[in-house]
């Protein structure tokens, strides 16, 4: 399940729903990304997507992760629009029979979302707005999966 939303969401409620009725799963891993205030330097984040294209690209990588890590299920919820410090930006949930695959798939999906998913991110602060692009660390993290 891939969902982009303008509205704040409750990661705990989503996790509870995702776990419901899973009698053969064994492991669910979750990652929640929160907007950082940077000590007042980032009053808000703003994320732009390309509706249709962004979901399709994430769907594609979720499919790759499913094959690579033998997942039973994946859910990704991603905010778009303005996001206040402390709010959840992204939630990744992975379900598999055993924990290693669920953990690794979550890590893989987040590395992908950081540097390859079609989002454009702007940080609004006291000095104005600036576009945020993947850091060297983000690209290095993504590289771990490409061999």
């Amino acid at each position: 399940m891939i969902r982009l939303t303008q509205e704040p969401f409750d990661p705990g409620a989503e996790l509870t729903r995702f776990c419901r009725g899973r009698t053969e799963t064994g492991a669910v891993a979750s990652f929640v990304g929160l907007a950082r205030g940077e000590g007042g330097a980032a009053a808000a984040l703003e994320l732009e997507a390309w509706p249709g294209f962004t979901e399709a690209r994430i769907e594609e990588i979720a499919g790759e992760a499913t094959g690579r890590f033998s997942l039973q299920d994946v859910a990704i919820i991603h905010r778009i629009g303005k996001i206040a410090p402390g709010e959840a930006i992204v939630l990744v949930l992975t379900a598999s029979a055993h924990r290693r695959e669920a953990f690794e798939a979550c890590d893989y999906l987040m590395d992908y979302l950081k540097s390859r998913a079609p989002f454009w991110k702007r940080e609004h602060g006291p000095e104005g707005a600036r576009w945020v692009e993947p850091t060297a660390r983000d690209l290095e993290d993504m590289g771990r999966w490409e061999d």
């Binding site: 994320l47 732009e48 390309w50 249709g52 399709a56 540097s115 454009w120 991110k121 692009e133 983000d138």
Partner: protein
């Protein structure tokens, strides 16, 4: 006609997010030449590091033919999460 979409910092640079070019340029490079003729800075930004082009929602590399009615998007480096 060819519809052109800009995202992220490219949109700030251009002061527009969507435009229609009529008549349709035959190729992606022809489209870039049309853009360069009116806004050299924007054209340079479109060729900048990490900028990708998509034609009808599929990423493309290099020059490609544009069918009439094609939608072209220029995508600066992406960052979510």
């Amino acid at each position: 006609m060819t519809r052109v979409l800009l995202f992220g910092r490219l949109r700030d640079r251009a002061d527009w997010r969507e435009r229609v070019f009529e008549p349709s340029p035959a190729t992606l490079f022809d489209l870039k030449a049309l853009i360069a003729a009116e806004d050299a800075d924007l054209a340079a930004a479109l060729d900048g590091p990490g900028v990708q082009a998509a034609v009808d929602k599929a990423l493309v590399r290099g020059d490609v033919a544009l069918a009439p009615g094609a939608e072209v998007a220029f995508l600066p480096p992406m960052s979510g999460g």
